[in-house]
């Protein structure tokens, strides 16, 4: 195992401390609603972020903070969104599960985003060849029919679609064996999609594995399903974990955090403190902000403009 770069370690730690801070805020009664932390799954987000281009579409899900932070390094914008404070990335309307920035979008209904991602992939194939659409889903989301409708279409039309599966062995409270018959590899094969299994959670090694297949997607080979073996260390949402303590302890034992701490020694300690402090500062700063102001009532855009061919909206990373 190679040591992670500073940049990667920083991002891993940023996400770790961000998510931990959210759970603390919840415990302190300072957060409302729901939040699904990606504790334990940070390496997937960090590994993929460097392989994605600004013009790639990325579709995240309920467990999307890591994906967002790895792409944008914007903990304040995300925290403000989650806390409903001024400066949130979606003005407090979307909250934890509904984020949009540039070509990054998350939604809260499982499976729904895969056909949508296929649609953006069709756009890209036609007008921006070399770019791709990546949809993050969990193992449990393979229960949803929409995933198959999208996969079928994507293979038929050879769309540059990547379905990035974070297989953490559980869906909310349901172990994978109770919700998934057969395998994800078999499901990709059934549709003729390329498939890659990534068991490692060392960021550099993960990238090495994924880079080639991803390049083939960009070259027009059609969709790819990448299955990442990963671990959910925290509760599904807030404090709802019903797993036995031994199981959690076993998961924590294999977590990247202590492993990297051992591997990187002082460098880890330094960056860990740096990111911990950074998150603490963000928490303090954002907590002091005023509440988000209500968005202006949306214009009733129901009368036609003169030039329907002119799109008012070009999606690029802001």
């Amino acid at each position: 195992m190679t040591e992670p770069t500073d940049a990667d370690l920083r991002r891993l730690l940023l996400i770790r401390h961000f998510e931990t801070a959210l759970l603390d805020l919840f415990a302190a009664g300072r957060l409302a609603g729901t939040t699904h932390t990606c504790l334990g799954q940070e390496p997937v987000a960090v590994a993929l972020a460097d392989l994605l281009d600004e013009r790639d579409f990325e579709f995240s899900n309920h467990r999307g903070h890591g994906h967002y932070l790895a792409r944008f390094d914007d903990p304040a914008g995300l925290l403000a969104e989650i806390m409903g404070r001024a400066g949130g990335v979606c003005a407090g309307v979307g909250g934890s599960q509904h984020l949009l920035r540039g070509r990054f979008l998350s939604t809260g209904v499982q499976g729904e985003s895969v056909p949508v991602a296929a649609g953006t992939a069709l756009h890209l194939a036609r007008t921006e060849p070399g770019k791709l659409a990546c949809a993050h889903i969990g193992d449990g989301t393979w229960g949803a029919g929409a995933v198959y409708e999208a996969l079928n279409l994507a293979v038929l039309w050879r769309l540059p679609l990547v379905v990035a599966v974070e297989h953490n062995g559980i869906a909310q409270s349901t172990p994978t064996a109770a919700q998934l018959a057969g395998t994800i590899a078999g499901r990709a094969a059934a549709f003729g999609a390329a498939y890659l299994h990534v068991a490692d959670d060392d960021v550099a090694a993960m990238r090495d594995l994924v880079a080639g297949p991803l390049a083939r997607v960009r070259d027009g080979a059609g969709p790819l399903v990448v299955e990442f073996a990963t671990r959910r260390l925290g509760p599904h949402s807030k404090g709802d974990d019903a797993r036995p303590p031994q199981q959690l302890a076993a998961l924590r034992e294999h977590d990247w955090y202590p492993r990297h701490a051992r591997l990187c020694g002082e460098r880890f300690a330094r960056l860990d403190a740096e990111q911990r402090d950074r998150v603490a500062e963000v928490v303090a700063e954002v907590s002091a902000r005023p509440p988000a102001t209500p968005p202006a009532p949306s214009p009733a855009a129901l009368s036609p403009s003169d030039n329907p061919a002119e799109s008012p909206w070009q999606l690029v990373n802001a």
């Binding site: 979307g94 939604t107 209904v109 985003s113 296929a118 069709l122 756009h123 968005p295």
Partner: protein, 337 residues
């Protein structure tokens, strides 16, 4: 002078114009490619003329509506033909929770030009899962507009406007209307004239010159012909003058063009093919009761399909759907009852 056009031809021409005008517009659907040209032949010729833009899909209603949402998100536009509007139920999540919601749920306006075309309604003997009029179930979703094709509204203009609004929309298209003639030059038939009034897309008013109506009939496009037949009958057999108002946009519906006439006539009948309960007509009625408080002679009356599935046998089907006779009967009751 241009030849007369059937409604399906006019829709076909409107789609062709839209595809030609905007190379980023896609038309998606099951079996829409030539030579088949769609279950109702509305897309005939389009895949030949616009092969890059017209895409035939598998049987995946949710998938293709999601795909359309993705295209829209990326700056394209998409029209999806749902083969029978009944199957739009399969895409209800994509419509309500993705396409419509995305317009505002990210704290800023996200254009989402996605149109579901839904061949709709009965009177064709297709049976309970292929004959429904599901308009009401799509009414009242924030940022989702609901339209219905009419023989009085220019189809090209309607489609252009729907797409330009940048919001998701469901366009209901009565299947019997497809073979009807588009009206033009202000003539609804040899007796009744029409004009289209109000803000875009406007309400078509079908009426007699100079004869004040005793009752206003409000109906979506699919019912308009049956309503007109009833109005002829009422005029010729019972000397009751009525006026028909046909809005092309059902939601949000702009009733301001209706108010004046309705207030003067004092009687309003809303006719629709929807089954009973929570209908579009109830929404119209509530607005009219409120806006015309004290000016109506009697409550707005709703005439709709029975609280029943639409049977396959034509004679049974006819009995559950509003027809000329039941419309005329309702008006007579209101005027003389």
């Amino acid at each position: 002078m241009a030849a007369r056009q059937r409604v399906a031809e006019s829709l076909n021409a409107a789609l062709a114009t839209a595809l030609a005008d905007d190379p980023r517009l896609y038309l998606l659907g099951e079996d829409i490619l030539d030579p088949y040209g769609g279950a109702f032949k509305v897309t005939r010729g389009l895949s030949t003329r616009f092969p890059r833009q017209v895409l035939g899909t598998p049987i995946s209603e949710a998938g293709i509506v999601g795909l359309a949402g993705g295209l829209a998100l990326a700056g394209d536009r998409a029209i999806v033909e749902i083969m029978f509007g009944d199957f739009a139920t399969l895409a209800f999540d994509q419509v309500v929770n993705f396409a419509a919601k995305s317009v505002t749920m990210y704290g800023r306006r996200v254009p989402m030009p996605v149109v579901l075309r839904c061949p709709t309604g009965g009177n064709r003997g297709y049976g309970p899962t292929h004959s429904q009029s599901l308009q009401k179930h799509f009414v009242g979703v924030p940022s989702l507009a609901v339209y219905e094709l009419t023989p009085y509204h220019d189809t090209t203009d309607l489609l252009r406007g729907i797409l330009a609004a940048g919001e998701p929309a469901v366009l209901f298209e009565d299947k019997v209307l497809y073979t009807d003639w588009m009206r033009r030059d202000g003539a609804a038939d040899d007796l009744f004239r029409y004009d289209v009034v109000g803000d875009w897309p406007g309400v078509a008013r079908v009426r007699l010159d100079d004869a004040p109506p005793e009752c206003i009939v409000v109906a979506p496009g699919g019912v308009a012909d049956r309503a007109l037949a009833a109005m002829r009958r009422l005029l010729l057999e019972s000397e009751i003058v009525t006026e028909l108002h046909v809005p092309a946009r059902l939601y949000p519906v702009d009733l301001s063009p209706v108010l004046d006439g309705a207030g003067r006539a004092g009687r309003v009948l809303v006719v629709e093919d929807s089954t009973a309960g929570g209908t579009w007509g109830a929404e119209v009625a509530h607005t009219l009761h409120t806006e015309l408080w004290g000016r109506l002679r009697r409550p707005v009356r709703l005439l709709h399909a029975a609280d029943s599935v639409v049977p396959a046998a034509p004679h049974l089907e006819r009995a559950v759907l509003p027809q000329d006779g039941s419309i005329a009967g309702a008006v007579e009751e209101m005027c003389h009852g």
